[in-house]
C-alpha cells in the first residue's frame, strides 16, 4: 500500500508504515532532526522534527504518514519554535563551538545555522560534567551530550552490548556507561562499534584524529545540512 501527502505544499509519496520523516528523507525534503537516524528505532525525544499535520503538532519521526495529510514544516512559526528548542539544548549543555573538534561537522551547530539561530540568549546552566578519556581510541565529552540516545540504541540494538544508558531524571538525566567503574575504558566498547559513529554532536569522538579535516572544509562548512543530511551517514561512507 502506498499513497501521498504534502509537505509545505509539495506532494510526497509514501509506503504504508512510513513515518512522515521516512517519507520526507526518501523524497529528499529536509525536516530538521537530531535524535532520528533511519537505521534505528524512532525515538521522538529531541522534538526538533515537530511539524504540524492537519494543524496538529506532531513529531515527524514518530508519526505515520497518511494519505492526504497536509504537513507544514518550514513555516515561520515552526522555525521560530525550532530555534527555541535549539536554544534549550545549547543552554542545557556546554557547547563551546569554536573550541570543539566537531565544529563544522556537528549536526546541532548545522541545524541551528539552518534555522537561523545566531547566538543562544538564555542564561546557560553550565552543568558540571566530565570528560571520559579512559578509552584508548575514543573520548566522551559529556558536556556536549544532547541525550538523543543514538549511541544507546546503536550499542543495544546493533552492537548487542548495551554500553550506554540513561540515568537520573528530569534535568538530571545523563548518559552513563556500563562498566564496573562507569568509565568507557573498562567497558566492552570498541572504536569499531556502530555506537562510535552515530553521535550527531561532538560528545563521542575518536582520539588522535583531531582536526584531521581543517576547519572551513568540513561537512557543513561547504553545504547546508538540508542538502547533505546527517553527519552519521557520511561517517559510515568515510569508514567504508
Amino acid at each position: 500500500m502506498s499513497g501521498s501527502f504534502s509537505i509545505d505544499g509539495v506532494t510526497v509519496p509514501f509506503e504504508t508504515g512510513q513515518s512522515i520523516m521516512d517519507a520526507a528523507l526518501a523524497a529528499k525534503i529536509y525536516i530538521p532532526h537530531l535524535c532520528h537516524n533511519p537505521e534505528f528505532q524512532p525515538h521522538g525525544s529531541c522534538r526538533l522534527c515537530c511539524v504540524t499535520a492537519n494543524g496538529r503538532t506532531v513529531a515527524a519521526c514518530t508519526t505515520l504518514a497518511t494519505d492526504g495529510l497536509e504537513v507544514a514544516n518550514e513555516t515561520h512559526e515552526i522555525t521560530t519554535r525550532r530555534r527555541l528548542l535549539l536554544k534549550l539544548l545549547f543552554v542545557e549543555g556546554n557547547h563551546v563551538c569554536p573550541a570543539c573538534e566537531k565544529s563544522g561537522a556537528c549536526q546541532l551547530q548545522a541545524v541551528a545555522y539552518h534555522c537561523g539561530m545566531l547566538a543562544p540568549e538564555f542564561v546557560h546552566f553550565y552543568p558540571k560534567r566530565a570528560v571520559d578519556a579512559s578509552h584508548p581510541e575514543t573520548i566522551i565529552d559529556f558536556n556536549r551530550c544532547i541525550l538523543c540516545e543514538l549511541c544507546v540504541r546503536a550499542s543495544r540494538d546493533h552492537d548487542g552490548k548495551s554500553v550506554f544508558n540513561i540515568s537520573g531524571r528530569g534535568i538530571d538525566a545523563h548518559l552513563t556507561i556500563d562498566s564496573p567503574s562507569g568509565r568507557l575504558g573498562d567497558s566492552r566498547f570498541s572504536a569499531s562499534d556502530k555506537a562510535a559513529r552515530v553521535c550527531p554532536v561532538g560528545a563521542i569522538l575518536p582520539k588522535h584524529r583531531g582536526y584531521e579535516i581543517p576547519i572551513g572544509r568540513r561537512l557543513y562548512d561547504q553545504e547546508s545540512i538540508s542538502q547533505v543530511g546527517d553527519v552519521a551517514s557520511h561517517r559510515e561512507q568515510e569508514d567504508g
Binding site: 519554535r81 534549550l88 540568549e121 542564561v123 550506554f164 531524571r169 528530569g170 534535568i171 552513563t176 562507569g182
Partner: protein, 586 residues
C-alpha cells in the same frame, strides 16, 4: 496461569523496592547479584534506581522522614514544622545525620491534603502534623523507639466523607456485578456501560466501554487489565479514599473488565506513598479468592480465570501516565512511550492492555449492579453521573466530596465553606487556575474537567507561591526524555524565580509565555504539555501578581501586558523572536 518468575526482568523495580526497605538503600553487591540473576546490565539497574525518588544508592537514615511539600501542606505550615524537626534533631533538610539515625527531606504531595501537613516515616504516612507532634517525633527518634512501637494515632488516616451522592450512597455487594455479567454476557455489560456513558475518571474522560471494546477486539493471546492507583496529581486523594473504603468495588470492576476483554491477569499499580494500604488490599484480594471471586473458575464458570497482583511505585509522578505506568510495571524507568500504538493495542509486555483509574473501575462495577438509569439520574448529557473531589486548602471542611457533574464551582465552594476565595486550582498542578469571575463554570468534561483535585486559595495567599510550587513540582517530576520538558521545566523555575525576587522585566514575562507555549505544543507527553499551565494561567488570569513584581514597570507606562502576552503565547507572527528573548541575565 501465567505468573511472573522471580527472576523475570520485569520484577526489577519490585525487587529494588524490597531491597530499599530491607537495607535502607540498594547495596552495590545486590546490584551485581540482580544484574546476574535478571540478565540486566549494571548501568540499566542504576538507571532505574536513579529514576525513582524512593530508591537510593547510599543509605538513608534509620528513620527516613519525607515532608509532603505540596502547596496545601505549606499553607498549613509544613515548612516551619520541617525546620523545627531539623533543628531539634540537628540535621539539615535534605541530609542524613552523621550517626545515620535520621534523614530529613521533602517529597511531592503524599495525598493527604485533607489531613495535612503530612509526612512519610519509612513509607508510613503521618498526618495532621503540629509542633507538638513534631516534638514527639523528635523524642521517639532520639530514643530510637522502633516504628512499630510508635503511638498508633500518629499514623491514623481518616476516610471521612463530606458529601455523598449516588455512588457513595449506594450499597454494594461483592460478586453481584460479576454474577450478573456471567448471566447476561459481556456484550450486555458493555452495552450498559456505553448507555450509562461512563468516562475515564483519571482526567482525560475517554469512554470506558470504547476502551474495553478496543482492547477486546485486538488479536492477541494475552490481554491485561491495569488499575491506575498512582494518584500523583498534587492535591488529589480520592483514590486513596476508594482504596481504603471501597477496594472491593474496584477489584470487581477489574474482574468485569477481565471478563469482557479476556484477561487472565491484572495489576493494581499502587503509588509508593500508599504502601500502607498494601496489607489491607492484599487481605481483600485473598478474601475474594476465598469467595470464588478471583482465581480459577470464578463463580464456578469454567475457563474464567483471573487474578490480580499489586505492584508498587517508588516516587515518580510520571508513572501515572498510562504508558509510563506500563514501562514501570515492566520494571523499567517510567518513560512514556510513543503513542500510537496505545496500550489497548500494545501495552504490558506488548499485549493489549486496559488502563483505568480507580474511580472508573469502581463506577463500572456499580453501574453493572445498579443499572444505566441510576447512573444517568445525575450529571449532564455529556458527563453523566458524579465525580469524587478531593478538596483541600482554604476551606473549613476539606475532604472527600461527591458532586454530580454539572455542579458550579460556586456551589462546591459553599459546600466546603470556603470564604474570601481568591482562586481555585482545579485538576491539580496540571489543571487550571480559576479566578472568581469564572466560579459560575461547572464541573464537567465539557467545561472544567478534573481528575479530582480541588485546591482553594483565599485572598490572604500569595498566588505566585502556589504557581512556583507547581512549577518546581514539574521540574522535579519531569522524566527527562524530551527537550522541551526536560530543559523547559528547569528554565521555567529559573525564570519564575527571577520574577519572585523582583529581578524580572516585562521581557522575562514574554519569555515565560513563549517557553510555556513551546512546551504545551511540542512536549512528548501530558506532563510537559501541562507543566506550564500554572504560569500560563497565572499570566492570563492574574497578570497583576506578576506585574507588581517587575523591576521596571514604572518605566513602561504604555505597556499593555495582555496584548504582549497574547503575542508571546502565539509565537506566530513574531518578526524577530531573538529580540524578545534576550536579557536572560541580571
Amino acid at each position: 496461569m501465567h505468573t511472573v518468575q522471580e527472576n523475570d526482568p520485569s520484577n526489577l523495580l519490585q525487587r529494588l523496592i524490597g531491597l530499599q526497605q530491607a537495607f535502607r538503600h540498594i547495596p552495590s553487591d545486590a546490584i551485581d547479584h540482580l544484574a546476574e540473576s535478571l540478565g540486566l546490565s549494571r548501568a540499566f539497574i542504576l538507571g532505574v534506581i536513579q529514576f525513582y525518588s524512593f530508591l537510593h544508592s547510599s543509605p538513608r537514615g534509620e528513620y527516613d522522614i519525607l515532608f509532603s511539600d505540596n502547596i496545601t501542606d505549606q499553607m498549613q505550615g509544613s515548612r516551619l514544622l520541617a525546620q523545627r524537626l531539623a533543628s531539634k534533631l540537628g540535621v539539615d533538610i535534605g541530609r542524613t545525620r552523621d550517626d545515620q539515625r535520621v534523614t530529613l527531606d521533602y517529597t511531592s504531595c503524599t495525598g493527604m491534603g485533607d489531613q495535612g501537613p503530612a509526612a512519610l516515616v519509612n513509607g508510613h504516612p503521618i498526618t495532621r502534623l503540629t509542633m507538638e507532634r513534631v516534638d514527639q517525633l523528635a523524642a521517639l527518634i532520639e530514643q530510637a523507639v522502633p516504628l512499630d512501637n510508635w503511638p498508633a494515632e500518629l499514623f491514623q488516616v481518616s476516610a471521612g466523607v463530606e458529601r455523598r451522592d449516588i455512588v457513595l450512597n449506594s450499597d454494594y455487594k461483592p460478586g453481584t456485578a460479576i454474577l450478573r455479567c456471567l448471566e447476561e454476557g459481556a456484550e450486555e455489560l458493555l452495552r450498559r456501560l456505553e448507555q450509562a456513558g461512563l468516562r475515564g475518571c483519571g482526567g482525560a474522560g475517554f469512554s470506558t466501554a470504547k476502551k474495553w471494546r478496543f482492547c477486546a477486539s485486538t488479536e492477541s493471546a494475552e490481554r491485561y487489565v491495569v488499575c491506575n492507583a498512582d494518584e500523583g496529581e498534587p492535591g488529589t486523594f480520592k483514590d486513596r479514599y476508594l482504596l481504603q473504603a471501597h477496594a472491593d468495588r474496584l477489584f470487581e470492576g477489574m474482574t468485569l473488565c477481565a471478563a469482557v476483554i479476556g484477561a487472565r491477569r491484572g495489576f493494581l499499580y499502587l503509588r509508593g506513598e500508599y504502601r500502607y494500604l498494601l496489607g489491607p488490599l492484599q487481605q481483600i484480594l485473598q478474601q475474594r479468592r476465598e469467595n470464588g471471586l478471583l482465581g480459577q473458575a470464578i463463580l464456578g464458570r469454567d475457563g474464567f480465570d483471573f487474578d490480580i497482583d499489586i505492584h508498587l511505585g517508588a516516587g515518580a509522578y510520571i508513572c501515572g501516565e498510562e504508558s509510563a505506568l506500563i514501562e514501570s510495571l515492566e520494571g523499567k524507568r517510567g518513560i512514556p512511550r510513543n503513542r500510537p500504538p496505545f496500550p489497548v493495542t500494545r501495552g504490558y509486555l506488548g499485549m493489549p492492555t486496559v488502563v483505568n483509574n480507580v474511580e472508573t473501575l469502581a463506577n463500572a462495577a456499580l453501574i453493572a449492579q445498579q443499572g444505566v438509569e441510576w447512573f444517568r439520574s445525575v450529571g449532564t448529557a455529556q458527563s453523566p453521573g458524579s465525580k469524587l473531589l478531593s478538596i483541600s486548602g482554604d476551606c473549613e471542611r476539606p475532604g472527600i466530596y461527591e458532586f454530580p457533574f454539572g455542579t458550579p464551582i460556586s456551589e462546591i465552594l459553599a459546600a466546603c465553606q470556603a470564604h474570601h476565595t481568591q482562586a481555585v486550582q482545579i485538576g491539580g498542578a496540571a489543571g487550571r487556575l480559576i479566578p472568581p469571575a469564572e466560579f459560575n463554570r461547572t464541573l464537567a468534561f465539557e467545561d472544567l474537567a478534573t481528575g479530582g483535585s480541588f485546591m482553594v486559595f483565599n485572598q490572604s495567599r500569595e498566588l505566585l507561591n502556589a504557581i512556583d510550587n507547581f512549577t518546581r513540582f514539574f521540574r522535579h517530576e519531569s522524566c527527562g526524555f524530551c527537550t522541551p520538558c526536560r530543559v523547559g521545566t528547569a528554565m521555567l523555575t529559573k525564570q519564575l524565580g527571577k520574577v519572585m525576587v523582583g529581578h524580572a522585566t516585562s521581557k522575562d514575562l514574554d519569555e515565560l509565555g513563549t517557553l510555556g507555549s513551546l512546551m504545551r505544543q511540542t512536549s512528548h507527553c501530558g506532563l510537559g504539555q501541562t507543566a506550564a499551565n500554572p504560569i500560563l494561567d497565572g499570566l492570563e488570569k492574574f497578570p497583576d501578581i506578576f506585574q507588581s513584581r517587575l523591576r521596571s514597570t514604572s518605566f513602561e507606562p504604555a505597556f499593555d501586558l495582555d496584548a504582549s502576552l497574547e503575542e508571546a503565547r502565539a509565537i506566530t507572527g513574531r518578526s524577530d523572536p531573538g529580540a524578545h528573548l534576550e536579557g536572560g541575565g541580571v
